[in-house]
């Protein structure tokens, strides 16, 4: 058993590993290529950073290719992303041409010489038109909540997706009708990553002190000693509703002594981040005890410490793919208040592993409940940790991905026979 897999075996027991080894035997001799558009920032890059080495250790040679693009291309793909999330923003002919032009350019550059090609999200979806080779199996993995997809934008993407051997979404409500088999697979987290590993108290305090000192502003709070902290850690993105979090906090703050921390950064493929951050700063200026922290890419240890220091972790998103920040907080046995959107209800089983809210007032109510009841926080934290351990760690996601390829290969050989 190699190093990375060995650590998981200690955590989960041997059973899951016999299954992974069995899948690897079924796929022996095949090369896998993962493709997305960023190596840093966002949940997809985070999953791939961990899963790619694990797959290689398992004996399935796996490469990770990054589709590149200029700012204009990423503006188009951001609009596609938002429209598929339910914020219609029609694409012009120029936008469509820009998407096709970069796809053609990247199709010529990328190394897609595997047997199993795994494409993440809509940005690289059209590569299949240019690069599919005989004998390859192509799978499209969509991390976005497609339940409110804008029909016009979806009709632009759908013809590419229809060419895949299988599609994967995170929840039943996200699944569009497709001719290809579509499967539901939830994403997962790495419990040993800097962002999730156990932190000794002294180390946590040191990281928090360094963050407070590094923030520079005179009114920067002492993250290590002040609190209790209500914390949301997310990209500064309208769909994460940071303004809604401030509104909920302002209701709580009228009756309870507590502080709000909004921490996050902008992914390299998200040009809206700076704009949203300015809006958040403006709203926060009129509410006491709100701290805003911009985190540079790679602030995994800092995020770990901030989540552990939180009394309540909030994820008040308006739309979500899956919301890995929720899984991270639950893994750290934190009490979580989150919106019932996207994949969050799969993680937060209401009153069992966390609390769900559907409005600003609802979020404020659940935050207050948790601030008042340490025993409830503790109980939810324990249950939440167990739930993530069983269902949302990397070996389970890898297992399901490999099973999709095995199923697609079996299907192909049945049709050939």
């Amino acid at each position: 058993m190699s190093y990375l897999l060995g650590r998981y075996e200690q955590l989960l027991g041997g059973g899951p590993f016999r299954t992974l080894e069995g899948l690897a035997r079924r796929l022996r001799g095949r090369r896998l290529v993962m493709v997305n558009t960023t190596r840093t920032g966002g949940g997809v890059a985070e999953i791939l950073r961990q899963v790619v080495p694990l797959l290689n250790e398992l004996g399935i040679p796996t490469d990770w290719e990054i589709m590149e693009g200029d700012e204009a291309f990423f503006r188009v793909t951001k609009r596609i992303h938002n429209a598929l999330h339910g914020q219609p923003d029609p694409l012009s002919e120029i936008d469509r041409e820009r998407y096709h032009e970069w796809t053609r350019r990247e199709a010529a550059r990328l190394s897609l010489h595997g047997d199993l090609i795994f494409i993440h999200d809509p940005q690289p979806a059209a590569l299949i038109e240019h690069r599919r080779e005989p004998g390859q199996t192509w799978v499209w993995r969509c991390h976005i909540d497609l339940s409110r997809r804008d029909p016009g934008t979806w009709e632009f993407i759908r013809p590419f997706v229809e060419q895949y051997d299988a599609a994967i979404v995170s929840a039943a409500a996200f699944a569009p009708p497709l001719a290809a088999p579509t499967f539901l697979i939830a994403p997962s987290i790495d419990p040993f990553a800097e962002k999730n590993r156990e932190l000794p108290e002294e180390e946590e305090a040191a990281v928090l002190r360094a963050l407070s000192d590094g923030a520079g502003a005179e009114d920067t709070p002492d993250l290590a000693s002040e609190g209790p902290w209500i914390t949301q850690i997310s990209r500064f993105d309208r769909l994460k509703d940071p303004i809604g979090v401030i509104e909920a906090f302002s209701l709580v703050r009228k009756r309870r002594r507590c502080k709000l921390l909004l921490a996050g950064g902008s992914a390299s493929d998200d040009p809206e981040g700076a704009e949203v951050l300015a809006e958040v700063r403006e709203r926060a200026a009129s509410v006491p005890d709100v701290a805003i922290l911009e985190l540079p890419p790679g602030s995994d240890l800092e995020i770990n410490a901030l989540q552990r220091a939180a009394t309540v972790v909030v994820q008040k998103s308006l739309r979500e793919g899956f919301a890995l920040t929720v899984a991270e907080a639950l893994w750290k046995r934190r009490a979580v208040v989150a919106s019932a959107v996207g994949g969050i209800p799969l993680q937060v089983l209401h009153e069992e592993t966390g609390l769900l809210a559907r409005s600003i007032e609802g979020a404020a109510y659940q935050i207050e409940r948790l601030l008042d009841r340490p025993s409830l926080r503790r109980e939810l934290g324990i249950q939440g940790h167990a739930h993530i351990r069983e269902n949302f760690l990397h070996p389970r996601e890898m297992r399901d991905y490999l099973a999709v390829f095995v199923e697609a290969l079996d299907r192909a050989s049945r049709s050939a026979a």
Partner: protein, 251 residues
């Protein structure tokens, strides 16, 4: 005498496949259940224990939970939950019980929110050979703790109901291999709803109990000097640990 065929273990991975079939009321759910493919009944009812493998109590099936949570009809939810408990020889038997639980004229009250509608999902099973096999029931007992609950659940619950090849039904293999007492014990364990981890452990507990007589006979047949040597070795190891010395390498 023909030696028994070895039992080859596989893990059953259930890929969840959305069907695009929705229900917004109990009446619509009844129509959905009436025509749902077996793979969907399998996912929503039979595999609950595998989908929530560590729960202390197995949650009610998805139909029951949806009627209870979204339509706020606890009576219908209880009836559906009860209909889904137990062992089924066929999916048609299960379907009949679910439809009977909903009655002939279920409520037409609808959920308003689109996200709250019931979504029918089917389980597509992918059996993965594990390269592990048992030739005798005794070997099975030794191997069982090293297997995952995905394997035990598949062999005991999924494969027989799905009509997968006969070799993949563990209880039938036990019957064929002279382990009929073990097979009965497994059938008994399946009568109560259990989460997969609990079922895996319960089967081991039961089989170990069934195996006590064999082990007593085996021990009685062993020459006394073998036991005495083993006891002496154990005492030596304990004494060395108590004195802080490293245990000696066995010759």
């Amino acid at each position: 005498v023909t030696p028994p065929t070895p039992f080859r273990f596989v893990a059953g991975i259930a890929l969840e496949e959305p069907t695009q079939v929705l229900a917004e009321s109990a009446a619509a759910l009844r129509e959905v259940i009436a025509v749902a493919p077996p793979a969907a009944l399998h996912h929503h009812v039979i595999r609950i224990g595998a989908r929530f493998p560590r729960s202390r109590e197995v949650p009610p099936n998805d139909f029951a939970r949806w009627i209870g949570e979204q339509l706020q009809d606890p009576g219908a939810a209880e009836r559906l939950a009860y209909a889904g408990f137990g062992v089924f020889d066929t999916f048609e038997e299960l379907r009949g019980r679910l439809l009977a639980a909903l009655g002939n004229s279920p409520s037409k009250r609808e959920v308003r929110d689109e996200e709250a509608r019931f979504r029918l999902v089917a389980a597509r099973m992918v059996p993965v050979p594990l390269d592990v096999e048992a030739s005798t029931v005794e070997e099975l007992l030794d191997l069982w703790p090293t297997l995952g609950h995905e394997s035990s659940w598949y062999h005991v619950v999924d494969a027989p109901l799905l009509g997968h090849t006969e070799e993949q039904g563990l209880i039938a293999w036990l019957d064929r291999t002279g382990g009929s007492r073990w097979a009965s014990s497994a059938r008994e364990a399946l009568r109560s709803p259990r989460a997969a981890v609990d079922l895996h452990a319960e089967l081991l507990r039961r089989w170990r109990r069934s195996d006590i007589a064999r082990r007593v006979v085996e021990r009685a047949d062993r020459p006394r000097r073998v036991d005495a040597a083993a006891d002496q070795a154990t005492l030596t190891r304990i004494a060395q640990r108590l004195h802080g010395a490293e245990p000696r390498e066995e010759a």
